[in-house]
């Protein structure tokens, strides 16, 4: 019985000795906070994918087509948009601008597509792609704080 007690007391003594080994190594620590605000990726949806002006002739009057562009993104963030065509005959109105997403993260704008017919010649096919690009205008950049 005495032997057992002695063994137990040796074990108890060795436990604090092991715990203090980190103090022997003189461990020191410093910390640094890293944060980032996640914003929803932008999505752009156009009311039409194709506008077909049908048969036209030189100088014919063609009605313009308003195109609704619906956006989704981070609520209250501001965006800017730009619309361009890769050809010479499509006419565009409202080709650039800015706006802000609502609290529901939705936004929309119109632009207008027409056709310039005065330079068209017989049998000419018009095949142009109109590109809508939307970007966040006020994306906050990285900042660091010195201690």
């Amino acid at each position: 019985m005495k032997k057992l007690l002695l063994a137990a007391s040796i074990f108890a003594l060795s436990a604090p000795a092991m715990a203090s080994s980190n103090e022997l190594d003189n461990e020191k620590e410093a910390t640094l906070k890293v944060i980032a605000h996640y914003v929803e990726p932008l999505t752009v949806e156009l009311a039409f994918t194709v506008i077909d002006f049908g048969d036209v002739y030189t100088d014919s009057e063609v009605g313009t087509v308003p195109v609704l562009t619906e956006l989704a993104g981070e609520p209250l963030e501001e965006y800017s948009f730009k619309i361009s065509s890769d050809g010479d005959y499509a006419t565009l109105e409202n080709t650039s601008g800015t706006g802000a997403f609502g609290v529901d993260g939705k936004g929309e704008f119109y632009f207008v597509v027409g056709l310039d017919t005065k330079d068209l010649i017989e049998d000419q096919e018009v095949n142009e792609t109109v590109t809508v690009s939307v970007t966040y205008s006020g994306i906050a950049t990285t900042t660091t704080t010195k201690s």
């Binding site: 020191k28 410093a30 906070k33 890293v34 605000h37 994306i139 704080t145």
Partner: protein, 141 residues
């Protein structure tokens, strides 16, 4: 009766003379290791899934006893893998711990690492803490 009292006293004095001896205590006092960090927080601002962010350089100083080796460990509590760290700005980014050993020269030694985000893994805001640790390596016991 007198004899009986005398006998234990003789034994006692013999025991006391046997306890006479010497031993030495050796130890070396070494400098308290210190670590100082110039940056307390990094705010990457607005980021979205797949956006490009510039990596941020963080430098810190370790001061320890000349010619002693110390271990530096850089870790973080981000479990999503978004937070990436490397000792080189262009390669070697990892979400895991960075550990290396350096030899002290007795004065402030500059260390640096870079912090970046793997934004393609993001779907929520990031709030994480980076822990820097410096400790003596192989202190003789």
């Amino acid at each position: 009766m007198n004899k009986a009292l005398l006998l234990p006293l003789i034994f006692l004095s013999t025991l006391l003379s046997a306890a006479d001896g010497q031993f030495y205590i050796n130890g070396q006092a070494i400098k308290d290791i210190s670590i100082s960090l110039g940056v307390s927080s990094i705010n990457f601002g607005d980021v979205y899934n797949g956006s490009q962010v510039e990596s941020v350089l963080v430098d810190f100083y370790v001061n320890a006893e000349d010619s002693y080796d110390y271990r530096v460990q850089i870790s973080n509590d981000d479990s999503s893998g978004v937070l990436q760290m490397s000792r080189s700005s262009s390669t070697g980014y990892t979400g895991n711990n960075i550990t290396y050993i350096n030899t002290a020269n007795g004065s402030n030694q500059r260390h640096e690492f870079y912090v970046d985000l793997a934004t393609e893994k993001m779907s929520d805001k990031l709030s994480a803490t980076i822990f820097l640790m410096a400790l003596y390596n192989d202190i003789p016991e």
